[in-house]
Structure formats: C-alpha cells, structure tokens
Subunit: 386 residues, 2 copies
C-alpha cells in the first residue's frame, strides 16, 4: 500500500509526532507569562545549537526572510560585499544584498563544489583599504548538496574587518557550526530543516561586532529591525505576533535534540550521508559532489541520462509516495536530491534506497538488485555497533 | 536515530495520519443528526467489508467483548457447543461459552495448524439429534499465525442446524471472508486490526437464523443485548454512549479502504505474507506454520534456540524502536510474531526485515546479510509490476 508520504526533501523535513502533538494546543496570549517562558526556553535552546552566547532573534518568516533581515540590519546601501556562491542559495543571498543597495562582488565556484578559501583570502588581501564590509557565504548549498567549510573560510579572512555572514538555513545541526569559537558574525537558520518543525520561523544570531555595524546602518527597515526584536525580547515578547504553534513545536523539538545530544545529532547526519553515498555508488549511480564537499543534509544524484531525473522522481512518487527534490535551473532533470536531514530514521532511509533500486530496475537500468541495499544495511549495523 | 516506534503487532496496528486527524475533532451530541449520519455510514461500510446484508451492531468494547456478545445473545445455558481451537483465541471463545453455562465440547488442533474440516464434519454427522447448537471457530488465530478455512468448515457442516459463529477479530479484511455467500451466522471483529483505528470498537453481524435463535435465548444480558442495539440503530443511535472519536476514525478508515478496494486490501495482505515468509526463510529462519495454514495477518517466526525470541525482540526494540509480539504460554521465548495487517506500507515491512537481519548478525547467527532483504525487495518489485 502506498500510504502516507515519505518526505525526503532537504526541507521541509518530517515532523516528529511528539512535535506535532505539542503544536496541537490551544492559543495563548503572546503577551503573557506562559509565552514568555516558552520564548526564553527556545532562545536558550537555539543558542546551544548555534554554540553561541550572542544575541539571537526569532523571526516569523521563512529562511529567506532571515537572509533579508541580515542584509538590512548589517549592510548599508553602497557597502561593498563579497558574495561567495556555490549555487542557487548563494546567488539568492547576493541578490538580496543587491536589492538593498549593496555593491555586490560575486565569486562563483562550480556547482557541486565548495568555495576555495584561498581565493577568498587573496581577494581580501587585495582589499587594502577595507572597502569590503561583509562576506556572504552559504554553509550548506541545498541546490547542489555541497557545503562550504565555514571555519576555514573564516580563518582565510585573517584580520580583515569585514563581517562574515553565514546562511546556515539548511545546514545547521546537520553540519558542525560553532558561531563563537569560529568568530562568525551573523548566522541565519530556519525551522523546517534539522530543527524538525514546519516552516515559518527564521533565526538570526549576531556578534557584538555585527551589532556595532548595525548601529551605523542606514538601510530602510521595519519588520526586520533588530532593535525592536531586542527591546521586546528583554520583556519576554516579540515585536509582532509570533506563530505560537510553531513555538510549541520548537520547544519540543529542541528537547528532542537535547535528549540526543548535539554531537550525536551531527554524527548521525554524517553517518547518513556516508551511508547514502556508498549505497548509491553500489547501485552504479554517479554523485554530483565529490566526497570532500559532500553535504550531510542532502545528496544530489546524477540520474542515468537515458532515464532522466524527473521520471525517476515521478515513478517513486506514484508507486511509493516518496517525495524527492529535483534539480533546479540547469540541473533540472539532470539530478534528483535525497534529503537526509532532520527527523529521519535510518530504516526509512534504507527503505527509500530500496525503492530507488526497484525504480531503476523498472527503467531497465542495469544494476545488481540489492547491492546498494546491502551496503546501507551494513552501515546501519555499524551505527548500532558503536 | 531511533525515532518513534515501528508498530508491527498483530493489533493494535498503526493508525494512518488521515484517521488520527479525523479523530481529533470536538465532541458532538451522540443523540443528534450528525452522529446519526456517521453511524449509518459506518454500519453500511462495515457491512461491505463483511460482504453481508445482515444486521450488524457496533459495541463500545474490545474484540473479546464482541465474543461475549455473541455468546450471550446466541447461546443459552445448557446448550451444547462445539468449540474448535487452534490456539489461545480459540481457547478464549470456548472459555466464554463455558462461563455462560454452555456445555462446551472442544476440538483442539496443534498450534500452528488450521482445523481439519473433516473432523468437524464427522463430529456433526454423529450428532444425529442435533444437540450441538453452535460451532465456534476462530478465523485467524493471532497467537500462532495460522488461519482456519472458514468456507470449507461451513461446507463441512452440511445441513446440520448449528449456528456457525466466527471470531474474525484479527482476520477480517486481511483474509477473505464472505458472510452471506458462505452462510456464516455470527461474525465478530474489532477496530484495532485491519480496520486501522485504535482499539475500542467491536462489530457483530448475525444472520436471520441467528436472530431466531436469539429470540429463544435465555442467557442473562444487558450491555450486549442485541435487541437494544437494533432498537436504537433504527433511530440512528446506540443504546449506550458511543466512543465518538473512534467513530470519526472509523468513518475515515472505511473511506481509505473503499478507495483501495476490498479485493486489493486482501490481495495486499496476501502479498505481504508471502513476501515476509520468503524473506525470513532466506535468512535461514524457521516458521511456525506451514504455508497452507499461513495467516495473512501475522507471521510467527521460530527464533534460533541459542538466541531465544525475547532477546531478539528486546534488541529490536532498544536499537530500532521496532515493536514485535512475543509468543504466548508455551511459545514464550520460542517464537516472535511480525504483524503485517492494517496500515503497513511495504517499505516499512522491508525496513523491519532489514533490522531483523542486523539483529541476527548482532547475535552471531550465521546468515548471508542482505539475502532476505533482496527477496523482499523483489517481492515489492513484483507488487508494483502488477
């Protein structure tokens, strides 16, 4: 039986039943004591995931809203920014900065790779008079399944005073990130990824250095203005009406993550990535990214060209109710993407790999049925031996 | 990650999200028009599953309540009944009849087999003066995973006037049953099996012949009295307060079953049985029942004696949050049981088989890892080719 969907997108990710239940509670006054306690709880919990003691605000917005908040608070019209892009979400961050008047210099790297920190180092070393005010980078590039080594990029910036602004929307808690230790200035993330709750919340943390930049910021802003956020946060409130159900869910999800332990959450995502990649290779499939760039959140698979990625996705949807992401723009029908972040059990991942083998067989792709599955099964065995 | 449980019991079975959502509605007046419409809907829907136009009542009770209702309405103290037992639930039906004053003659068949209809035929042929008033039979014996061929047993009864009373609690909609065509007199079933809703409702349908027997019944009854049920049903009500949420869920579940089609529901259960059995054999495991008796609802696996069934269950629960049933009474620690009825997707079943292989490996059971899985995968491939 087909049953309800298996959701294997790189966001939104499946919502645990505990979270769904927590969300299913009556509304409360968002200016009252109960909401205040929830807000304090979740801000503290998210800061642990960020590994930061910096200020952190929660916006009622999608991830892109968080990126816009970062731009309008920390970049002024006319500021020069260096936008590092390895795919569609890198492009988007650059576009937002451009829309709000920044002078954007873009460094593009081939889709499927991570940024070369050496090139960033060289560019900043050339910038003797510090015209570059910010470096924009995507931690995990959802569109390709490659990730940027944020720590090394930060180190490559040396003493250049530009802010490092990190779009960690789809990577946070799937890939290691240490905001304070690595001296990141602005980090944005979203609720519908490793946080395991539905879309609708975006998180932005910012360093003291970023706050000083904010104080001289001349951009137009209202909804995103961090001063309002901070002012209300001190009273245990948000400036505008918060999506209360999502807060209920977030508190429960943070509790689940705390029970597993952040190190274990990240180790699990890494183990899933390795399992999925080994299994896909055993099926005879090619992957878009090399191992050294491979994201723990999502894996891009190059479909056999004689089949195409979209027929594979359609068959898996029709026959198994499995939802996979396709490729975007020039990768449309070239790749499909298997999300393995958030609330995914290893046996569910194995089931999807089994269905993929069956699908490839359906399309007469030559494969040793079960070979990819056996690899996955052995990987699961190893996870449970540890 | 372990995540939420995989429920592979022979009841209660997983509840589809559609059903859970349907149940999550505010209460209504159970003496009002809205409930009347629901009651009429679900009674009509259950009758389709029973393949009957006979009277059918819904009790707020577990399956055993339905068995008791059958006994107290259709068996009078002193009546002789022939109770056919192939396991614990056959024994239970006999015990209830005994508790309510019947003179019970029991025919037992070895656990793991189905009843031999020839022996029933012979016994009834000896009963020249028709002292036997009812034959009690279990369609699906949950404790062993064997089933009785109810159609053949009915044929074996020939013209003997005894009622045939069928406990179809765990088998209905997983195994073919045609109440009218096969001339069954009383058929009992329950909500927490192939009906895919939580426990709490029991269904009892009865033929006109059974109703005539009821009219002369002398047993003590109140809650179970079918006359009350029929009287209220005519007004679109139930005699006592119904569990309204379960009715909401039942209406949705019947809709899901109608969308799949009853023939397909039964074919799915049969295909699952065959897949599970072939896969388990490929792992080198022994099964309790021969193929000819094998239930489509649940499969009993003989654990390797050097491991024992309960350590296997414990490991699967601890490591994978997979819930399997154990053996009961003399089968405790000898067998474990994999339920495959109700809302089970084939890929979930495959995941459980994968976990079982991993578990056997953990206990150093010699197996060709992946062999059982490959069989299951090929069976799924075949299901999707049809």
């Amino acid at each position: 039986m087909k049953g309800e969907p298996y959701l294997f997108l790189p966001g939104p990710t499946p919502v645990p039943e505990r979270v769904a239940r927590a969300m299913n509670r009556p509304m409360i006054n968002h200016r009252g004591e109960e909401f205040k306690a929830i807000l304090e709880d979740v801000v503290a919990g998210i800061k642990q995931i960020y590994r930061t003691s910096a200020n952190l605000l929660i916006y009622p917005a999608s991830g892109t809203g968080g990126l816009e908040a970062a731009v309008v608070n920390f970049i002024s019209p006319g500021d020069k920014v260096l936008a590092v892009s390895i795919g569609i979400f890198g492009d988007r961050f650059a576009s937002i900065a451009e829309a709000f008047g920044a002078e954007v210099e873009k460094i593009d790297f081939p889709w499927g790779t991570g940024a070369d920190s050496q090139r960033i180092r060289e560019r900043l070393e050339q910038d003797k008079d510090h015209r570059i005010k910010a470096v924009l980078i995507t931690q995990n590039e959802t569109s390709t399944g490659a990730y940027n080594d944020v720590k090394t990029i930060r180190e490559a910036m040396g003493d250049h005073p530009a802010l490092l602004m990190v779009d960690a929307v789809s990577g946070l808690a799937a890939i290691d990130l240490r905001m304070d230790e690595w001296r990141l200035d602005v980090v944005i993330s979203g609720s519908q990824k490793a946080f395991m709750i539905p879309p609708g919340l975006s998180f932005m943390a910012f360093s003291d250095k970023a706050f000083q930049v904010y104080q001289k910021n001349t951009n137009t802003k209202y909804y995103w203005d961090l001063a309002e956020g901070l002012k209300y946060l001190r009273q245990g409130q948000t400036p505008f009406t918060p999506p209360i159900s999502l807060y209920y869910g977030l508190r429960e999800a943070l509790q689940i993550m705390a029970e597993e332990g952040l190190e274990n959450v990240i180790a699990r995502h890494t183990a899933y990535r390795d399992m999925v990649r080994a299994s896909l290779r055993a099926m005879g499939l090619r992957l878009l990214t090399e191992d050294r760039y491979a994201s723990s959140a999502v894996t891009s698979v190059i479909a056999p060209p004689e089949i195409g990625a979209n027929p594979i996705r359609k068959y898996m949807l029709d026959q198994f109710n499995i939802i996979l992401a396709g490729g975007q723009q020039k990768l449309d029908n070239v790749i499909f993407r298997i999300g393995h972040l958030g609330y995914i059990r290893e046996l569910d991942l194995l089931a999807v790999l089994a269905a993929l083998e069956i699908t490839l067989d359906h399309f007469d792709f030559s494969l040793d049925m079960g070979a990819g599955l056996k690899i996955a099964q052995k990987a699961i065995l190893n996870m449970h031996k540890q």
